[in-house]
Structures are given as C-alpha cells and as structure tokens.
C-alpha cells in the first residue's frame, strides 16, 4: 500500500468514526429529547471506556438514557438498584454450595453477580452503604472481581453507569472521593428547555422509548472505534495545556487570591489528567480531526473535572458551585494559553 492509499484509508477511517458517532447520537436523541449535550458526553465516555456518574433530579430520563444506549450498541445491560441493605456480594456475586444431581457431589461454586455485564447501571448509587459502594472500586478500576482469593475478569468492554439524586440526602451515603475519582465523567442532568418539553408532550409514553430504538453499532464496531481513538495525536503543547489546567485546580500551586486559592481545598488528580486527555481525543475524532486541540480540552473539562475538585468550606457556605469555580479557572487558563 503506497502513501496515498494509506492517507486515503486514514481519512476514510476518521470520516467513518465521525459518521458512526453522529448516527449513535441521533439514535439516542430519538429516545431522550432535549438532552443533546448529555448524550454527546455519554457517548464520549463510552468510547473512552470510562465510567459515568449521572447526577440529576428524578424524572429527567437518566435511567432511560442508559437503557437506550445499551440498546443502540447491542450491549448486555444489567441493573443494580441500590438500597441501604444491599450487600457487596449482591453485586459481585458469591460462592454457593452446589450439589450435582447425577453423582451427589457437593461443591462450592462462584455465582456471578450483576456486575458481570458489559454495561452495568447502578441506580441511585448513593443510597447504598459505603461498604457496598467499595465493592465497585476494584471492578471499576481493574475490571475484575475478587472473591475468596480468586479474581474473576469482567467482560470487555466494561462500563459502569451510575445515577444519583442530589436532593434527597436523607438515608444516603455520599460517595467517597476515591470512588468519585474512578468515574471518567460526572454528567449533571438538567431540566430540558421549553421547546424540548413541548416535543416530549407529543410523545407516546405507553412503552419505553428505548424499546423503539434500533441497533446502530455492533459490539465489534464499538471495539474497533475504541482502538482508533488511541491513534489520535496529542501534541506537546496540548499536553502542557492539560497539565496547566490540572495544576490550576490546586490551591497550593496557584497564586495567592487566584480562584483556586480562594475556593478549592483539593484539586484534580493525575487520573483526572488522563481522563481529560482521553476524552479530548474522542472529542477531536468526533469532529473529524486526528489531533487534539485546546478547545477539545476545554469542552470536556467540566465533565472530566467537576467531581475531582473539592471546594473549601467557605465556598460551600457561600453556595458557590464547582462549575462556577471551574468556569473561572478555564477562563484564566484559556487566556494564558492564547498568550503563551
């Protein structure tokens, strides 16, 4: 294959990725109306192979969105409804005593829990106890489950999509920082616009919208697209910019009276940097580019960093949200990047 053919093939690959991305997005917008940006972020996390935390009030279509996504990409979906009495074994699985019928032999066998699925919907994750929440840590980070000293690998690709309600705090257990950091994105689901609500009013709500969707991407194609993401070039300037953004969220590394110095207690972790760059690659590819730009970093910064930044007490008392702080940091950062 000569160079020109190779270049044409690469161009074709990128165009195909962009096309499939748009196809999937359009398919999901048929089921979930008025949440285009959230759908976009969710697909980016999907191609990045990262886990997503969806936060929003009840009735905004979080669960439906996950179901629609699983249907669109033909992935098996298992759902875990979290309650305070949910135990870790209920998620990961447990060893049970089995007695075979033909030889009356009794043996201990591992019964896999609902976590053994490509896509796991953990509904209302903050309602379960920290002990059970911690059962997800190993699965989310290492894609395996250990039970009685034996590790069981999880199917690939593996996604955990958790939901939580930000207002009903009674009887809930806020996720620890270590748990939060394992989510690639934290997507805040807001109210749809008036036009979207008008469109929703015309929909038939007799059946689940996810059931009406067709499969647009096969699992094999999904894996192929995920491999393609790794080819996206990130220049040193972009890497430096991403590092600068992460460091800008650290109080002890920022200037006195800067935004981070005033509002932030703990900044984003190195895992946040990886999430930022990984998500920016997919963003670039979805826009038909083989390289990451500064704007890609900026566009994914909110979803990739908002759950990794811990505000100080003063900011919480003043009711200053993470997004407001992040917005200010991004403004300063973008200006510095332009001038540098």
């Amino acid at each position: 294959m000569n160079t020109l053919e190779s270049l044409a093939q690469i161009e074709n690959c990128i165009a195909q990725f962009q096309s499939d991305f748009i196809k999937l997005r359009d398919n999901l917008t048929r089921a979930i109306v008025g949440q285009d940006e959230i759908i976009n972020d969710l697909i980016i996390a999907l191609f990045a192979g990262g886990h997503v935390l969806l936060e929003g009030l009840p009735g905004l279509g979080k669960t439906q969105l996950v179901k629609a996504l699983a249907t669109s990409i033909e992935m098996p979906l298992s759902r875990i409804q979290c309650t305070p009495d949910l135990m870790p074994a209920d998620i990961t699985g447990s060893e049970i005593l089995l007695k075979t019928s033909h030889d009356d032999e009794v043996r201990i066998d591992f019964r896999k829990g609902p976590i053994f699925s490509s896509m796991v919907l953990v509904d209302e994750i903050n309602r379960t106890t920290p002990k059970t929440q911690s059962a997800l840590l190993e699965a989310m980070q290492e894609c395996q489950v250990t039970c009685a000293g034996v590790s069981y690998p999880l199917p690939q690709p593996f996604w955990v999509i958790a939901t939580q309600n930000p207002i009903e705090l009674e009887g809930t257990f806020p996720l620890p920082e270590a748990q939060l950091d394992r989510f690639l994105f934290k997507i805040t689901v807001g109210y749809p616009s008036a036009e979207s609500l008008f469109d929703m009013a015309g929909l038939v709500l007799d059946d689940e919208p996810a059931k009406r969707l067709s499969v647009v991407l096969s699992a094999a194609r999904m894996l192929e697209m995920m491999r393609l993401v790794k080819q996206v070039v990130v220049s040193d300037r972009i890497k430096r910019a991403a590092v600068a953004l992460i460091l800008a969220t650290h109080r002890d590394l920022s200037e006195k009276n800067s935004v981070a110095w005033r509002h932030i207690r703990y900044g984003a972790s190195p895992r946040g940097l990886q999430a930022l760059v990984k998500a920016a690659r997919i963003k670039a590819l979805s826009n038909g580019r083989g390289h990451v730009s500064i704007d890609d970093i900026r566009e994914v910064a909110f979803v990739a960093l908002r759950h990794r930044i811990l505000l100080n007490m003063d900011s919480e008392l003043d009711n200053i949200g993470v997004d407001v702080v992040l917005q200010e940091i991004l403004q300063v950062w973008r200006k510095n990047m332009t001038h540098s």
């Binding site: 160079t3 690469i10 080819q231 070039v233 040193d236 083989g290 730009s293």
Partner: protein, 378 residues
C-alpha cells in the same frame, strides 16, 4: 516502524515551512508595530506634558525634550527584536487566528521532533496542514494578520499638539526666573552699595524730571492690594535692602490714567534699570499689562500709577526668591515718605479700580482646604 519523513511528501513539508515562516514574519512585524505604537503613545503623552508645563514653567528645552523622547522608539525597536517569535509560537498564532484547532502546532511539532512515527495519523495530519496552508496562501488571508492595528490617529494628534506646544516660546517671567535661578550672582548683589544708591538716585531724578504720574501716599490698609508679583517684589525688597533699615516697601497700584509723557517716563526708568543690569519682571507701566490678574491700561483709560507704602516686617519677610532682581518700587529713600511729584493732578477716587484684589491661587487653595477641614471636623 517507519520514520515520519519517509512516509510524507517533501512538498508538504516545504509548504508548511513556507506558510509558517511567512506567518512568523508577519507576526514579528505586528509585534514591532505594537511596540512602536506604545512608544508613540508614551512620546505623545510626554510631549504633551512637557509642552503644557513649558507654557508656565520653563522646565525643559525642546532639544532636551526631543532627546528624552527618542529613547522610547529606540527601546521599542530593541524590544521588537528581542520578542521575535519562534516557529512554534507562530504556528500557535496561526491556529488561533484561523481557527485550525491546533493543526499547525501539531504539524510543526511532528516535523521538528525527530521521532519515529508514533501514530498512523501523523502523515495524515501533515497532509491536512499542507492542504490548509495551500488554501490560506491562495486566499492570501495572511493579510488578516497584518490588519491587527489601525493607524493611531489619536496618538499622532496628541504628538502634533505636543510638538506645537513645546515649540512655543516660553513666557518671559518663566525664562527670567529660570535664567536668574541658574545664574551665578544676582545683579543687586553684584552692584556695590554706592552704585546702588546712585542708581536709585538717578532713577528718582529721571522720574522727577519727566514728571511721572506717580505719587507716594501714606500707608493705608484700605488701599493695599497685593498681587503675586507684588508679593514677590516686596520680598525681594526686604532681601536686597542693604542697610536693613527699611520697614516698609512700596507697591504699585494702577489706578489712574497715563499720558504719553508718563509712559515716556516709565520707559526711561525701565531703560535705566536695564542699563544697570536689572530686568524687572514687571516694569513700571510697560509690562503691567501682561499680568492677567490686573486690568490693562487699554481697558481702563483713566488709570493712574500710584505708589503705596506698605509696612513690611523685615524679620518675618518670607520669600522663596533665590536672588531675583530688585524692582524699582523696592527702593526706599532716606525719608519715610517720599513725595515723588507733589504736583500731580488730584486723585480721582471714583476711578480707583480694585485691581489686584483677587485672591491668589494659593490663597484660594488654602481657603478651600481650611473650609474643607472645618467641614470634616463638623
């Protein structure tokens, strides 16, 4: 793994090099213009300040001002040279200007770094950059980079006004004060004591012979009027008086008409003073019109010149003069009262103008501060 240069077309590399290099030069030009603009702004402000100041105080000569102002443009050129952007910076600026989403930065890095082909996308990125460069060069949209700055009309206008002001001749008072303050000796000190006495005698005789319309009248606080020049002259009088006996000084109040003979007498007195090396900042009758605080003779045709005796406390005489010239009205003869010309026409009280009655700027300032302080205390 293949080298990047083996895979990509050399024409693409040249095209990107050419485009980025051209952009770099344009950016450099813009930086130079930017620096020069700041120099022009600075010069305009300084020139305006110098010019305005020189209207009142002769602080700096036009030559010195121009010498000071030449520093900024020179420095701007040096700064422009130092700030010449590299290829990487130029690529960044091109990306920002043309919204190419870091394409040229990435391409430039890929071309500069001697690394092996790390990604399959690298040749494609170079090709994309070359295509974009071709398009931009064809569109000649590099001109957009040149149009960052509009001509600085405001600064140029200020510069012209500043040049006009600084080339204006400085006021005589200011020049005189400057020349005296920088001079080695004061004329009154240069003259021997006997010469001074002779000089004033000569002036008096000249005044008597020419019958000037001057009259010394007894000291009266009602007729006392003080202007800035007169205050200064009183102070001078205290300083230059050699014998230290004088406890009064003579001030001038323009109240009556001057005839042509009177003006001749005044000019004689002034010429006598000038011959003696004394340049009155405000001569009798001649330069009085220049004082904006007093009325001119043309405005008040019935004005007369009148000498008024003013008591002066020698011990409390405060003056900031640094050896200025004496005025003729500072002279005090051996008598306490001097009737220069008793045969003057009777004084017309009705036409006496309250000249020089206005509070000076300093007095106004003190008054305002005083009332402000009282107000604050309340």
């Amino acid at each position: 793994m293949a080298q990047l240069v083996d895979v990509i077309d050399s024409r693409d590399i040249k095209l990107i090099d050419h485009f980025v290099g051209k952009a770099r030069n344009i950016v450099w030009l813009n930086i130079a213009i930017h620096e020069l603009l700041w120099a022009i702004r600075l010069d305009a402000v300084l020139l305006l300040a110098f010019g305005t100041t020189n209207q009142f105080y002769y602080l700096i000569s036009p030559t010195a001002a121009l010498a000071v102002l030449s520093v900024a443009p020179v420095w701007s050129v040096i700064a422009a040279v130092l700030k010449r952007p590299g290829r990487h910076e130029a690529a960044c600026i091109v990306d920002d200007r043309y919204a190419t989403h870091s394409l040229f930065v990435t391409a430039e890095e890929l071309l500069q770094a001697p690394v092996r082909l790390a990604s399959e996308f690298c040749p494609w990125i170079i090709r994309q950059a070359a295509r974009t460069a071709t398009l931009k060069l064809k569109e000649q949209s590099l001109a957009r980079l040149c149009l960052l700055y509009q001509p600085p009309w405001l600064e140029i206008g200020l510069l012209v006004v500043g040049i006009f002001l600084i080339l204006q001749p400085a006021p005589i008072d200011a020049v005189t004060e400057k020349s005296v303050s920088v001079g080695d000796n004061v004329p009154s000190e240069m003259l021997p004591q006997s010469s001074k006495t002779d000089l004033f005698e000569e002036i008096r005789k000249a005044a008597l012979n020419n019958e000037p319309n001057v009259k010394a009248i007894p000291n009266s606080s009602d007729e006392l009027s003080v202007s800035r020049h007169e205050m200064a002259s009183s102070a001078h009088a205290n300083e230059i008086r050699p014998d230290g006996l004088a406890d009064t000084a003579l001030t001038v109040e323009e109240t009556t008409t001057k005839s042509s003979e009177d003006l001749t007498a005044d000019s004689n007195i002034n010429s006598s003073l000038e011959r003696a090396g004394i340049r009155p900042a405000r001569g009798i009758g001649v330069d009085a019109d220049t004082d904006p605080m007093t009325a001119s003779y043309e405005q008040h045709p019935n004005a007369q010149v009148k000498y008024v005796e003013v008591p002066v406390n020698i011990g409390r005489a405060v003056s900031d003069n640094k050896g200025s010239v004496p005025y003729v009205q500072d002279y005090r003869g051996p008598e306490d009262k001097i009737e220069f010309n008793p045969s003057l026409p009777p004084k017309i009280e009705k036409n006496t103008l309250p000249l020089n009655n206005y509070p000076t700027f300093v007095q106004q300032r003190y008054a305002s501060l005083y009332f402000k302080r009282i107000h604050q205390k309340k």
